[in-house]
């Protein structure tokens, strides 16, 4: 299969030094996108790590340059698409069939995509496409520990 070069995406950078581990990004993400809060409704994952004595922290979708999720989607460009403005690899909720292939393909140990089993759709960071003011997680972080790195930036 040929894989054409995809446009780079903007992404959210987490600044550990400023993060107070309050989890507001996680709850705001679910609130904005799903109108309800639960861990599986947020596109932001969380590492607890209390038993390991490590810093509790959020995990964000990297909006990979080579997005395995995108390539794995059986409805590529229909259900898992590329945003023409931000480059975000996003899921069209109306088209997603909840097959879970994108989650399987995500290369990270803690998968950055969730499954809403009830609605049978995958939940993935879309950088809050179309939201005035940009991604909601960045907006509610009062420590400014989250930074939207726009494409072409850095």
């Amino acid at each position: 299969m040929t894989e054409e070069k995809l446009p780079e995406s903007s992404y959210i950078r987490w600044n550990q030094k400023e993060c107070s581990a309050c989890s507001r990004c996680l709850t705001a993400c679910a609130t904005y996108h799903c109108g309800a809060v639960a861990l599986h409704l947020s596109a932001i994952k969380w590492v607890e790590g209390e038993s390991l004595h490590v810093f509790r922290h959020p995990l964000f979708c990297k909006q990979c340059s080579h997005p395995e999720c995108y390539y794995a989607c059986p409805l590529r460009d229909v259900a898992l698409c590329i945003d023409s403005v931000t480059g975000a690899r996003y899921i069209d909720k109306d088209e997603c069939i909840g097959c879970g292939k994108c989650i399987e393909a995500c290369p990270f140990e803690v998968k950055r995509i969730n499954l809403d089993e009830e609605k049978s759709i995958a939940i993935k960071c879309d950088l809050c496409r179309g939201r005035v003011g940009g991604p909601v997680c960045v907006a509610v972080c009062d420590r400014q520990a989250l930074i939207l790195v726009t494409r072409g930036g850095e």
Binding site: Q16, S20, C22, G35, A36, A38, G49, A139, V140
Partner: protein, 666 residues
């Protein structure tokens, strides 16, 4: 359908293992959630003769509708029950804690958990979306709070939240705490002892796919941003989170569901100052392994010890599962007073001489009791394990004092069973007439004076320019005259904040201030949000200097979907306050118990250079208490809520419950 609630309350009888599920919507939104829901459930659970050690005694864990949402500081759970620390009767009381127990209890499907009955052998409760299991805890019995949690996290996964007890709770120490993670504690009340009495070592909640619905998501997110900005004093969020170049970690936290933390209930702006770096490592968060700083712990040890030693004593308290507030700001000062009076030459069998410049000696105040580290360790371990004389002090200050013939000394530091807290005599040297309101609140509480009203006494005090050397908040300040003008509008009475420079006004209108803050205390611990931050009373940048006083109501409405005004929310809070009072009355509370605080205020406040009086004017205070009862709709002689008041609040069943005891006072 309302947002915010997940709809079910879990009830388990530890004796039979029977589990039922109640419908939350039978109780909300009219009891709000949190402590409001908790007090109502407690009324239904227990009887007049139920004691803290009765089998039918219930220990109730609740959250509120805003818990688990992006509402700042909402990551709180509340514990409600008959408090072993209460004296002479274990008054119904509450104690809150931060962290992730509240949200994860909801993600597992429950707004509250009611624990009734006693197990015959050590157990822990595991609750998930699909399971409620009472599991064997023999292997955990005797372990410290930290080891207990490590074992449970290994077994059930890192994502669970845990509330547990250490050895102090197991041994029914009347000031044993319930701990969650390294840093969150429900300390006051001694509810850890109730868990121990029930042989319940821990509650483990596993988050599932249960959703907390948000009625108005866009509105909520806008309010979250607005309120978050308002509650952070200028520049606070720009302070460095931690410094890792020196010896100690400084960390300031913002909270959503990591909420408030620490064994002393510190919360935003949590100042975890002074955590030795060797415990945290570079670039890590102090809170993950150890959290709260050494500030409170320093009240126990004599001066001269390093931060490390103070910190380690604090962590010993957490591990044993003692109430740090009582250890560092309660019993320690009682023991110090007795020692200084020559009535307690030995502690834990050792001849000691504690700090003679006690915490209430002006102007040479030294805020430490003067223990050596060795004595502190011996005493704390002795109490938690009930070894030797520790067995006496495990019974708490007033009961322990009775056992060793020192009852006559208790009045200096303890009332209703609790030590000082924002009353203007020990530790928090607040100005007249702030402590008049504090006294009025303490009179009618089941617990310490301003246990949930920091928003008044701490924030208000810190905003007054003339008192700004007391500021803990790094805010801009406001001249006292302007604060008085703002107060008149906030409380709706002319002399609400008056009295500091016009002493004759010190007792005027103060009943309105007390009632207002009684209700705000219930609102913030019910929706729930941080006690130290809310209500947002003053704002130096506003022309009228009035802060965002209805922030909690707007947050609640956006989550729940109601359109309550502040008046309607206050009515719900008044309902809760009267349920609390009815619980106390059913336990035997009367006006005499309320007046028991009077003698405490014979001790002077420490501002002899100021125009106001330094001690309580008893007659003026009794008159103020009369007016408070009248405003509350309580009987003047008994302090019992009248039937008319209870029925007005929709509490006819409670009026009937009290009437059978002829306690409704007409």
């Amino acid at each position: 359908m309302y947002g915010g609630y997940v709809g079910k309350i879990l009830r388990i009888d530890l004796a039979s293992g029977a589990v039922n599920k109640l419908n939350t919507l039978n109780y909300v939104p009219h009891f709000i959630g949190g402590i409001g829901l908790g007090y109502r459930l407690l009324w239904d659970e227990i009887k007049k003769d139920t004691t803290e050690w009765s089998s039918e005694n219930a220990l109730i864990f609740t959250s509120g509708p805003c818990c688990g949402t992006p509402v700042p500081t909402s990551g709180r759970a509340e514990v409600i029950g008959l408090a072993p620390q209460g004296y002479p009767i274990p008054w119904a009381a509450v104690s809150g804690f931060g962290g992730d127990f509240g949200p994860k209890m909801k993600f597992a499907g429950y707004d509250a958990i009611i624990i009734s009955g006693k197990a015959t052998s050590p157990k822990y409760l595991f609750v998930s979306e699909t399971e409620v299991q009472l599991l064997d805890a023999e292997f955990l019995w005797g372990l410290t709070n930290y080891s207990t949690q490590d074992a449970l996290l290994s077994r059930h996964g890192d994502d669970v939240a845990i509330a547990c007890i250490g050895p102090a709770g197991e041994n029914r120490v009347r000031w044993a705490a319930i701990m969650s993670k390294r840093k969150n504690a429900a300390g006051q009340g001694g509810f850890g002892a109730v868990m121990g009495d029930k042989k319940l070592k821990a509650i483990v909640v596993k988050p599932g796919s249960v959703e907390v619905p948000i009625a108005r998501p866009d509105k909520l997110l806008a309010e979250v941003q607005k309120v978050s900005a308002e509650m952070s004093p200028k520049g606070q969020n720009r302070n460095p989170l931690f410094t890792d170049t020196g010896r100690y970690t400084i960390r300031r936290a913002s909270c959503a569901y990591s909420g408030c933390t620490a064994s002393i209930n510190a919360c935003l702006p949590c100042y975890f100052n002074g955590v030795p770096l060797k415990y945290t490592g570079y670039g890590s968060m102090s809170g993950s392994l150890y959290c709260a700083g050494a500030a409170a712990n320093a009240f126990l040890l004599k001066s001269g010890y390093s931060q490390e030693v103070n910190f380690e004593i604090g962590k010993l308290v957490d591990q044993l599962g003692l109430n740090a507030w009582e250890a560092f700001v309660g019993m320690n000062w009682f023991l110090q007073n007795c020692n200084n009076a020559g009535k307690l030459p030995k502690i834990m069998g050792e001849a000691v001489e504690l700090n003679r410049n006690g915490p209430a000696v002006y102007p040479k105040t030294e805020l430490n009791a003067g223990f050596t580290a060795e004595l502190a360790v011996k005493w704390l371990r002795g109490v938690a394990l009930r070894e030797g004389e520790g067995d006496v002090w495990a019974e708490g200050t007033p009961r322990g004092a009775e056992m060793v013939g020192l009852s006559g000394e208790v009045w200096r530091t303890h009332k209703h069973g609790y030590g000082p807290h924002w009353d203007g005599r020990y530790l928090h040297f607040i100005h007249y007439p702030v402590w008049v309101v504090s006294a009025l609140s303490w009179a009618t509480q089941g617990r310490d004076p301003f246990n949930q009203e920091h928003g008044y006494v701490e924030r208000y005090t810190s905003f007054v320019k003339e008192w700004s050397n007391q500021s803990l908040w790094a805010t801009d300040t406001i001249p006292y005259r302007e604060i008085c003008r703002a107060g008149a509008k906030i409380y709706g009475v002319q002399y609400a904040n008056e009295g500091w420079d016009k002493p004759e006004l010190g007792y005027v209108d103060k009943e309105y201030v007390a009632v207002w803050h009684n209700h705000r205390a219930i609102i913030k611990s019910s929706i729930p949000v941080c006690d130290r931050q809310f209500p947002l009373l003053y704002d130096p940048d506003k022309e009228d200097k009035i802060g965002d006083v209805d922030a909690e109501v707007r947050l609640f409405n956006a989550v729940v979907g109601t359109d309550w005004s502040l008046d309607e929310m206050n009515k719900a809070a008044e309902r809760v306050f009267n349920v609390m009072r009815a619980l106390h009355v059913r336990q035997g509370r009367n006006r005499k118990h309320d007046e028991s605080i009077l003698r405490y205020y014979e001790q002077p406040a420490n501002w002899p250079d100021e125009p106001g009086p330094q001690t309580m004017d008893v007659n003026k205070f009794l008159d103020l208490l009369d007016r408070f009862y009248k405003l509350r709709g309580w009987d003047k002689d008994t302090g019992c809520p009248t039937r008319a008041k209870l029925e007005e609040l929709g509490l006819k069943d409670i009026a009937d419950g009290l009437a059978s005891k002829r306690q409704t006072g007409g």
